[in-house]
Structures are given as C-alpha cells and as structure tokens.
Symmetry: D2
Amino acid sequence: MTSRPYDDLPTVRYEGPDSRNPLAYRWYDADRVVLGKTLAEHLRPAVCYWHTFCWGGQDPFALGADVFRRPWSDGDPLAAAQLKLDNAFDVFRVLGLPFWCFHDRDVAPEGATLRASNAMLDAVLERAARKMQDSGVRLLWGTANLFSHPRYMAGAATNPDPEVYAYAAAQVKHALEWTQRLDGANYVLWGGREGYETLLNTDLRRELDQYGRFLAAVVEHKHKIGFRGTILIEPKPQEPTKHQYDYDTATVHGFLQRYGLEGEVKVNLEVNHATLAGHSFEHEVATAAALGLLGSIDANRGDEQLGWDTDQFPNNHVQLVPAMLEIIRHGGLGQGGMNFDAKVRRQSIELTDVLIAHVGGVDTLARAFLCAAALHESGDLEHPRDERYAGWDGALGQAILGGSGLDALADRVHAQDLSPQPRSGRQELLEQLVNRHV
Amino acid sequence: MTSRPYDDLPTVRYEGPDSRNPLAYRWYDADRVVLGKTLAEHLRPAVCYWHTFCWGGQDPFALGADVFRRPWSDGDPLAAAQLKLDNAFDVFRVLGLPFWCFHDRDVAPEGATLRASNAMLDAVLERAARKMQDSGVRLLWGTANLFSHPRYMAGAATNPDPEVYAYAAAQVKHALEWTQRLDGANYVLWGGREGYETLLNTDLRRELDQYGRFLAAVVEHKHKIGFRGTILIEPKPQEPTKHQYDYDTATVHGFLQRYGLEGEVKVNLEVNHATLAGHSFEHEVATAAALGLLGSIDANRGDEQLGWDTDQFPNNHVQLVPAMLEIIRHGGLGQGGMNFDAKVRRQSIELTDVLIAHVGGVDTLARAFLCAAALHESGDLEHPRDERYAGWDGALGQAILGGSGLDALADRVHAQDLSPQPRSGRQELLEQLVNRHV
Amino acid sequence: MTSRPYDDLPTVRYEGPDSRNPLAYRWYDADRVVLGKTLAEHLRPAVCYWHTFCWGGQDPFALGADVFRRPWSDGDPLAAAQLKLDNAFDVFRVLGLPFWCFHDRDVAPEGATLRASNAMLDAVLERAARKMQDSGVRLLWGTANLFSHPRYMAGAATNPDPEVYAYAAAQVKHALEWTQRLDGANYVLWGGREGYETLLNTDLRRELDQYGRFLAAVVEHKHKIGFRGTILIEPKPQEPTKHQYDYDTATVHGFLQRYGLEGEVKVNLEVNHATLAGHSFEHEVATAAALGLLGSIDANRGDEQLGWDTDQFPNNHVQLVPAMLEIIRHGGLGQGGMNFDAKVRRQSIELTDVLIAHVGGVDTLARAFLCAAALHESGDLEHPRDERYAGWDGALGQAILGGSGLDALADRVHAQDLSPQPRSGRQELLEQLVNRHV
Amino acid sequence: MTSRPYDDLPTVRYEGPDSRNPLAYRWYDADRVVLGKTLAEHLRPAVCYWHTFCWGGQDPFALGADVFRRPWSDGDPLAAAQLKLDNAFDVFRVLGLPFWCFHDRDVAPEGATLRASNAMLDAVLERAARKMQDSGVRLLWGTANLFSHPRYMAGAATNPDPEVYAYAAAQVKHALEWTQRLDGANYVLWGGREGYETLLNTDLRRELDQYGRFLAAVVEHKHKIGFRGTILIEPKPQEPTKHQYDYDTATVHGFLQRYGLEGEVKVNLEVNHATLAGHSFEHEVATAAALGLLGSIDANRGDEQLGWDTDQFPNNHVQLVPAMLEIIRHGGLGQGGMNFDAKVRRQSIELTDVLIAHVGGVDTLARAFLCAAALHESGDLEHPRDERYAGWDGALGQAILGGSGLDALADRVHAQDLSPQPRSGRQELLEQLVNRHV
C-alpha cells in the first residue's frame, strides 16, 4: 500500500439527487443559499480525527483485534503521527469539507512525561497549522483526551487523587492554547470518565465540586489568554463509566448554574448520547435552545436496538428534520457546527469506506436541513403553534405570567364558573405536514 | 360483602423474623431504636389513597375492565367516597402505620363546577379530620390531581390554554389549604401531564416559564397562609406524556435554580421513576442529598423487564440498602417519609391481598433500613471512602479547591514531573462488605 | 353532534405528492401498477375497529378519563354498537380502503352469558355482512377478544382454570365461524394475556401445553368447517402481562414446531411489538420470511423513547423501506395485508383527526413500498448481496452444505494452509444506495 | 513483582456468616449436604480463563489502555502463556473451586497458520493436563474462540466466505478433541459473531442454514470421537454483532428443531445475556427447563442501568433465588455447572481484587442456592402452585388436554352457562413467602 493512498483522489463534488456516483454529493451543495446563508455556513461540517484516523476497528466486546490496516498504523509513533496528519488533510481535501476537529492524544502520541507529550503535540500541530493555512480547512474545536490513559481510570477532574486533577489541568492548558493558536471556533470538554462506577466508593458532592472548580478554571484561563471560542460540554449519560455527571442538557444546565458558569459554557450535543439518556435528539436540541445552551452538534447516530454508543454515520434524513427545525427556529448554531464523531462499521475495512461514509453522512445532514428549512418557511407548523398558545398573549395569560397568585385565580374561576374545554393537539396532522417537506 | 370488611380485623403486630403469619411484621418493629430514633420515626411509612383505595385493577393496555369489586365501588359518588374513607381508616388501623396521604379527587368525586367539587371534598375531609384525631394517624402529604380530567389533557400549568392554568391554580389552592388544616408534613406536586406529546406543537420555553410561574405561585401561597410543610416535586421522566418536565432530580435542580425556587422546594423520589429515567434509585437519592433537595420517598418499585411504571410493592431489601445508606448519610428524611404509591397486581383481587402487600412492603423497607444502619455503623464503607479522597483534604487538594488556575497547576506538574498512579477502586470488596450486613 | 358525522364527507382521492389537501393521498395511488400488481393489491390496507371506533382516549397510566366523545359513546349498548357500525362503514367509504378487521367484543357488547353475547354479535354482524356486500369492503381478519374481561385476567388458553379455557374455546368458535361467513382472509390470535405476571405462581410447561392444545384445536376447527383463511398468531413480548408466550417470531417458530403446527399457522407482525422485543421491524419480517411464517402486517409504530406499545400511525417512510424490501424479496404477503391497529393520540379528539391519521399512515406505507420496489428493481442491493455469498455456490460451499465433517475440513485447511482474508461489508455504501431511492 | 504472586497464598476456607475475612467463604461450605448432595456438587463452580487471566482492563468505549499489569502480560507469547497457566492453577488452588474452563486462544497464542496455533495450544494444554491431574481441578467446558481474529469479523459458520467456515470447523475440531482429552463435562459454542450488522447485506436463510450445518457437524464429530460431554450453545441477543442468531433460549429451541438437533444440544445461560434479551434470568432458566434444554449456567450479572454486557460478579443473592428455585425444581444441572465468565471492574487493578471477586461471587451463588433449597423444602410456593392448577388434573382439564375440540367445549359452555370467576394470583403473598427464606 502506498503511504498516501488518498493523495491522488479527486475532490468530491455536488452532482445532484440523480447522481449514481458514490463519491459525489447528492444534496450537499455547499454554496447553495437557503435562509440567507450557504449550506456550508449553516452546517459547518467537520471531519473528526478520532474515529476516522485513529480507531482501529476493534471489537469492543469480544476483545477483537484491530481490523483496519492503515499506512500509519505502525512504525515510530511520532513519524506515524505525521503521516497520519498528511493523510488526514488528504481526506479533508477529497471531501471538500470546511472544518476538522481533534483530541490531543489522537494527533500525537503520549510521551513519558507531560513535557514530552507536549513536545510531540507541538511538532505535529506546527505542521497542522501550515496545512490549515495551505488548505483553508479550519478548526471547529480542539479537546484533550482525559480518559484513555490509566491515570484517568477513576476520572480526571473528579479523580479522588488531586494529582490527577493537576495533570488534567496542565493537559487542558496546552490543548486549549493550541486551539486558540489554530483559531478554533470552540473548545470541547467531554467528561468521559467524569462519573462513577459504584456509589459505594463515591462522594458525589466532593466530585461535583471538583468538577465545578475545574470547569471554572478552564473558563478563567480562556479569558486570561483571550480565547474567543466557545467552551462546550458534551453531555453523555453513561459509558465508559456507569454514570456520568454530564448526563444530559438539563443536568448540565443545573450544574452550570450551581457553579456560576451560565453564560460561559454551552453544549455539544450528540444524537446517540441523547438517545442513550432516554431523549429524542430533537428534545436535547430544543432544551438546549430554550435554556440558552445550544452550542454545536455531534451528528453520529445510534442503533435503536443497541444499548451503547454505536457512533454510526447518519443515514435517515427524515429522523433529523425535527432537530434541524429546532436549530433553525433558534437562529442556527453560531460558532458551532456539525462534526462526525462517527466511525465506519468494523467490517468497513476499505479506505474508500471512510470517504463514502462521510459523503452519505453529509448528504443526510444537508437533506434534513433543506427539508427543515422548507418546512420552516412554509409556516405549516409555525402558524398552528402560534395559534395554540395565543391565549398566553391575551389578558389572562399576561396576568398569570405577571404574577397572579392562587387566590386571585381561584376568585376568577369561581366568579366565571370556568370550565375550559380540551382542544385537539392535532399530532397526526402535524406529522403529515412535516411529510410534505421530506 | 359487608360494607366494612376490614372493620373486625386485628391490628398487625411485630412478631419477629421467624413468624409465619402473613399478617405480622417480621422486621418492622416500630418502636425499635436504631441510630437514635425509632424505626417508625426513621421510615415514617404512609398508606396512599390513590392505588390502594381507588384503582380498580384495570388492564392499562388491553382496555381490561375493573377486576376489584369493593364495597365502595358503586353507588352514589359522595356516599361511596365516605364509605371509602371509613374503609381507608380501617386499613390504617389494621396496618398500624403512622401516616396516610391523598389526592383530592381520590378522596371525593369531581362535581360539575370547581365549587361543587370543593364542597364534596370539604364534606369528606371534615370527616377525615375527625378520624385522624381519633386514630392518631397523621398526613404525610396532600396533593391535587391535575391530570385525570380531560381539561388537563394537554397539561395543567403548562397547558396552552391559560384558563386551564387558572383552574389548576384554584384547585391547588383548595388542596394546599386542606393539607395545612390537616397538618400535613408536605405538599406534593406530581407533574403528570406537565410535559409534551410531540415537539411539533410545543413551545418548550413558554411551557417552562408557565410551569416556573405556577410553582412560584404555590410557594408564595404557602408562605401567605403560613403552611409549614415542605413543597415537593415528584420527578418522573415520561408517562403519561412522552416527556415530562420533571424528568429527574438533576432536571428539577436546574429548573428550581432557573426560577429562583432553590431552598423552597424538594423532591419526592420514586424508585420506579428513577429507573425509568435511566438511574438507579440510590443515584437519585444521592443526587438529591448532594444538591440539598432530598425530601421524601415513594417506595414502589418497577419490574426490570418492563418499560413502564408498574408501581409494585418493594420486595428485595438487598436492592434498597444502598439508597437507605444514602438517606442515613444525609441524616434522614426530616419532614419526609416513605409512602406506598404502589398497587397490588391486577390479579391480586382479594381484600386481604392489599394488607399482605403493605405488610411485605413495610417489612422490606424496615429490613433494608436496619441493614443500612448496621453497615453505616460498622464503618466498613465509610472508612475506605474517606481514605480514598484524603488527598483532597491535603495541601494540593485544598489549593485546587481554593482556586488554583491552569497555569499554576501546569507549573507544578512540570516542576515535579508528576505521574500519578492509578489505585484500585475495590468495588468487589465493597460489595462483599455490604453483603456482610444484608 | 349528528349521529353520522362522517356521512356526507367526500371520499379521499389520490392527488399526488404536491397536494396540500390533508384529506388527499399523496402517495397511495391505489390502482398504480408496480412489480406487476396494483398498490392496493400489494398493501391490502385495512381499517381496524379496535382503536379507531372503540378506544375512548383514556390515559392508561394516570387513570385519565375518556376524552373522545363520539355519537356512539353512550346509550343502549346494542343500539350504540349498530350506530358504531354505521359510522365505521362511513369511515371505510371516506377512506376508500379495501379491508377492515375486528375483534368480536368491539363489534358488539358482552352479555350476561356467552349465548347472549353471541346473539348480540350475530345481530351486528348480520348488518355488517350487508354493508360489506353493498360497499365492497372486505374482511382482512376477525378475532376474539380473550383479554379484556375479568375472566381472562390470568389468561385464556393458559388460565389455571380449565373452565376459562373452555369459555375461550367457545368464544373463538363463534368468532372463527363468523370470520368464515364474512369471507375473512385470515383469523388472528393475539395472546394478550397468554403469559405470566410472576413465575412464582406459574407452571410454564403446563401453560405451554395448554396453549399448544388450544392452537391445535383452532386449526382442527378451521379444517372441520372448511375455512380457507390463514390462522395468524400476533407475537408480542409483554404487555399486558409481564411475559407473553408469543414473545417474537423466533419464539413462535419454536412453539409451532413443538406442537406440530408448522405449516398451519403464520404470524401477524406489528412494528411496535417487534421493537419492544428488542428487534428491528425488518428483522421480524426477514425472520418470518426465512422461516416460512410471514403472514400479515400490523403497521403501527412505537415511540423510540417509550417502553410500551404506543400504537402510533406510521409517519417515517424511510424507516419502513427495509421491511418493505424484505416483503418484496419474499414475494409479498399473499392473503395477508397491512392493518392499522393504531390509535390517534389521546389529544387528537376531533373526528377528523381519525381520517387524517389514516391518510398519513396509508401514504407512509405506500411511499415506503414504492421506494422499496424501486430499490429492488435497481438491483443496487441485490447484486452486491449475491456476490457476497457467491462462494457458497462454489465447490467448497456446496461440499460444506452437502455434509463435510470437521475432519475433512481440517484436512483441507492444513493441506492448503488456508488463511481467508476479511472483506468489507460495505454497510455505509449500502445505506447510501438505499438513500438513492427514498 | 514476582512472577507467581498467588503462589504462597493460603487456600480460601469456609468460615461462616460471621467471618470478617474477605478471603474466606461465608456461605460456600463446599461439603455441606443439602437436598441430598454437597453444595460443591450442586453448584459445580468454575473459574474462567477468559476474563480472569486474559482481559487487560481496557475501556471498551474510550479506547482506554490496559490497566492490569500482570506478570504474564508481556514477553514471548508462548512463554507468557505457560506462566499464565501456572498462575491460573495457583488461583484455582487458592480459591479451592472444583472446575475451570477455557477458550483455545486464551490458553495459547494465535500462530501464523492453524497448524502453528494448534502446536502452541498443544504445548500449553499438555502442561494443563498434568496440572489438572496434580491438583484435581476438572474441566467444566472447553471452547474455541471464533470471534476475535479479523477472519471472523463477519462470522465463523455464518461467514459469507466458506473458507472461513472451513477454518472455524478445523479450529473447533482441535478444541473439541482437547476438551475430550481433558475429560471436559461440556463443550460450549458461543456464537459471538454468528449474527449480522445490517440486513442490507445479509441473507438470513443462507446464514441460518450454514449455522445449522455447522452445529450438526460438531454433533457428528462428538459422536465420532466418542465425547460424552454435552454440547452447549450460549444464547446472547446482540453484542458484538447487532443481532445474533442465538438470541435467547426460545430462539435456540426453534433453531435446534429446525435442524434436527433437539436432544443433542443444550444451553449455557448467562444472567446478563438473559437480561439483554429482555428476560429475567429465571425466565431463561424456567424456559430451558420446560423445553428440556437446561445445560449450564454463566453466573455473571449485568448492571440494570447499562445496555451492554458488563459481566459483573453476582452480588445480590435475593435476585438469584428464583432462578435457583427453577434449577432445583428441574432436578439440578446434571453435567452442567456455574462458571464465572465475569470480570473484575476496570478499576479493580490489584491481584487480590480477582480473588475477592470470586469469593464474593461464589458466596452469592451458595447463599442463593441455600435459600432456594429451604424455600423448596418448605413447600411454601409449591403447594399453592399445585393447587392453582388443580383443575387441569380434573375431568375437564384432562378432556381438554386429551383433545376436546371447539364444538364440544362450546356445547359444554352453553349447556352449563359457564361463567368462570377470577381467582387471586396472590403475587404479594408469594413474594412475602420467598422473603421468609432469604
């Protein structure tokens, strides 16, 4: 195998819905303007380093060996990391997507000390900086891997050993500063091991306080160095630990308020994390929007029959329309975007499978967005919704929201012998209206 | 059938673990002192009106008819309600439990107007007040049913129609004032239909604001009338609606902060609601304790294979020990207690099944509490836990919690070439230690 | 309200994808020929009596009252049943669908004795027979309700009381004979309460034997009376009971073989029953097809976040394409069809909601079928699949299937130092190929 | 670290319920006679090689590195395998358990060819044979790993490539013959990758036929070589693949009948596999017993909040009592036993955690068995159950089971105006009776 197998592949182009070319976009017409912006500006799609260049296709359950053999799979770790970087930027070019995103330990190997790890990270990211400049590919977010190394076995910020906290803080400092230098639009914290395996050995209040202090320190450092990106937390209910502190958006909402971090931190929402927490994806998006926390999107989906995070590329645009609608209603993602923290299936061992997965995934997002935009513009849902709540803009509604107490309302009910009648929620009609646009 | 079938039954007594009498307590020795209080003072067990006297044994899924034929099942509604009350106090007496709790519409029927409903409620609760005085049975909590009537089909406080909100407010006023008059220790709000069926017709932010205002109005009224009980919210993730706003403790925590109600409202935690939300029961208890929200307990359990709230009486004391331990660590439930919002199985159609279910349930709680108390006193778990976090009481831990930033910590890591080593979490040992006490 | 509110509504027509009329079909062009038959012949859609005319919109969990007020909701039971029948045939006419299906106790009320119940059923079905003749609407299946009445609380065939078995047998006899008289294409058995609540009081082997004998008796009676329809079992894993004996297709497959009923009985597969059993719907269809058991389809879907049977009308055609493809690969449903054992949401209280739900549901099925037919005809999936298994049509594959033993195969492996290499499963490509047709 | 860290540890002894020694049995008194046999003869507990000596403590989800550093973790693979074997027999001696069990590739490494792999396996198992003789430890079962190597990525018997089938057949031949030579009581097939990832590329019927032929070939070879152990299939619903063909006991039941293998193959039931399939463990045991398939037990449990196989050591004896009762009712496990295919938690990195986990696990099984035996002997459940079904031993019951048809039964119902009355299922009472014995 050549060491740069993607090097001579042409860039994937938009060819329209009738194309039969598996390496063409059928829906993602990057420059198409809808709702006042291009599709690329709405979606801001990003290729992730993590699963796409680092995952080896292991079977997580059956101790199954790596099945992906890549040119950068073996050899001297730092040289392999540089070769991986070259290949990654080859893929970015082939796919023609505007963003990438990374974990520090995926970009460069772990050394014997943090200083050594930092030095290797510097070496690879210096090269990445040049490649970004040359290619125009931008950074959606950077992050630090605070979960794979054995030292993080029992958490990073929430570790019972404060030395581990210190190590994590130092690692985040370096990753955050690199994210600033690469002009990243966001910095992500995924609390992979910030949780517990058993309450029998866990002091929940201590760990929450540690975690709150850690997040505050990250926010302080952001301001100290003048980083203008958004700090994002990525909620996930469990896995790898039994229970994680960033369970879902509502949990993060309470946590941020408790530690005075509202307005400083938003959420990076993953479809499959939402469903593992018992929510629809659109629920998480709508909740984050309502609470002022909507930051960015991690577009990989789960398998409806499986109880773990399968991180599959999206393939059903109909299912994504409601979430896209919530994003549109909210006015878009701002500095956020849509990354593919997705992995090709273990059996998809060919290099081309990686490309096809991204093409299909981007097309699914684009198609869902276009449907949601058309739905939104039609007013088919918006008008009935406004009408449904119209009473709250009237005198009684305003009086209630203005502070009417139980006594005043009881007087009114008795005086008028109020007997409000139920009205149809018209769910089937609304579902039919959505289907006009998909 | 006689109209008072429980009337001549003897009171259930504590007979010890070797008793073979199904109508004797084997573990609930009400006056036994442990950890400085009697078992009755720790558990404060309460019989619920709801399932025990009002549920007819319908099959919720297959439109199955009522199977329970009670003396109070038919006849003039108000007369039947009075007969039901007499029977309820008969059961309280037979079981010898210190508390009861009620929903307004279970105590008395719905009338043509709220005024008429209130009048019937007054008639029955006047009689209840006398019976409480005579029997010494106290009220753990009262509540208003804001979910069964068609008017509440689309929510009470979160209804798109403000008239429904007004009606609900008036209904709560009456139930809250009766709860005060009956010297209830708590007042509960279960947001049964405060949620949504589909986001397609829902304005999440509006509904949250309505709900926040409603809860604030209840708290204001409590202070206005001088009610000294605790206001409790009962979290539940879904069912009857697809998604409910009081999903779990963490969600309620965020909600209370958002609407300035922290310190005013606590949670009433149900085992099965916890598990439907994807949490262990002990997780919900520990979270509520850590966040200062632990109010009261609803002890009915679910079925591990079923995806809805089965409301079964508890029968596995081992499973409850971790939650009891969290309650003990927290210093107990204060004004809260443990109610049985549980129902006998549909096929348990005999009047005696109701008694046996309560006896078995109370015994399971008592046994779990006794085990947890012994475990707590032994220090078997407490010592290893303190030791595990000892570093956080040392210099580094205190510096971190005192505000060390990323720069300072990175300096320290590099200066000392820190390389913290993982330590065993010893989960299997801790589980074995628990088993010494069950 | 008039007693025949649907009477003067026009029949729903096909108006094509661009129609904005909620009472028009956008995809269900009944006479459109695809794969050699009309859409109506492929789908054989059927309106169900059960939820559409009998369910009152109760809240199953919160003891919520009926919210649907229909002209036939009150009054003398038999007269109401006749009025309900008239309205049902009005709806069949408005929807223009070719089939209906019924449960005996939905058509006519339960009497004091089975004889009385039978007489009322006769009265209503005599009228139905005339209406079928007049309208041309045919019967997809009939069935007996062996689950709502208290006598069936602990099962029908699997009841511990053989008298209940006898009663059920007599009831099925009458329903089966009426199904024959109305020229029903199938007769369905849904074992709603053929299961257990707790193993503590259950003799599994006895109950399986009872159930096997019951099913055999139904098959014997079918042959005795010369009924030419198919006997169908409808698998469901749980609900109303904790565990049901017809858990899923594979379970039914084992059961039928054990009691010598293979070749006599097929399955009626419901989408939501599949997902409750932990399977995708396409899995159940493909399994039934592979095992020779594919009978008919119950098209209602579930809610991905809810753990009970929500019986919603289908609304996502993309999700149904894989199952439709399996049906097409199998050569269609034969005497089966696709019924809507679906219910409008509790809040959809308007009479028109019922029509809109069916229109949207039929359109979803039609669109999914058309997509699957195009996909099938394209060969996009079929060619790669044939190629994937080509080795099994070669010499080694045939030798293995012809009976090669471990010794012979080991000799071959060692002689050739066989080292088979993995090949990509190409899942993302195949998903992209599907998306070309949706 | 010494290379034989367990070598000088004393053997774990029974010290009774009051012992506070974490390396003593509190309930497993191996020679205690109950129900006519010793506890060791009832339970036949086995240590598994797989997780206990081979798993490295990886985080399956977060690509987390190995955290267990064992003396046999590094170095020349074959030498490490021999050292691992020595340590394994040290652990068997310390725990004092009568059985072990193994996968071929856990015992010895994979070589470049199957011949090379076999040679290494031979080298290690020759040594194992001597150690078994010296120690008296016996083999509960052997098995072949047909899932970890990339060649098995798309299945072994069900691979689309018949060469993979051949390779698997050759591998099983060797493992089966070694199992015979080591006098194994059973031979297990776990179809880890016998399933599918997506139906889009799967021919279900072909794969089932391949699998049926494979299993038949194993059975033929067993008879050919005169192996007297039982062939066991281990059902599992999914994981590692999306859907596995041995979903649960009922599925295996249908499969065995289809391929004429009933009476030849039984099941090895794992607690966590049962719960992942939507069943209680006692359901799987009772079903296997009723269908004549009960073979052996894999005692590791899951986590109720997690959707994957966590393989935890059992720690709640109350939960296991119903399954133990079903085993006792069935007359025991015969040649089967109870193995711990369990793993210590990832954070349990000490060598002693492995011992403590087994001690706690064995104690949990022993305590559950003792409770179930007492319950069984008391008749507390058996008498009410017999009485509940008494009608089926009477005239009507016998007539029905003897073949009464619908006509005869309908005649009887009408002649007698039968109206069977429901009887209480008494679930709460039965649960209370169980609790007398736990």
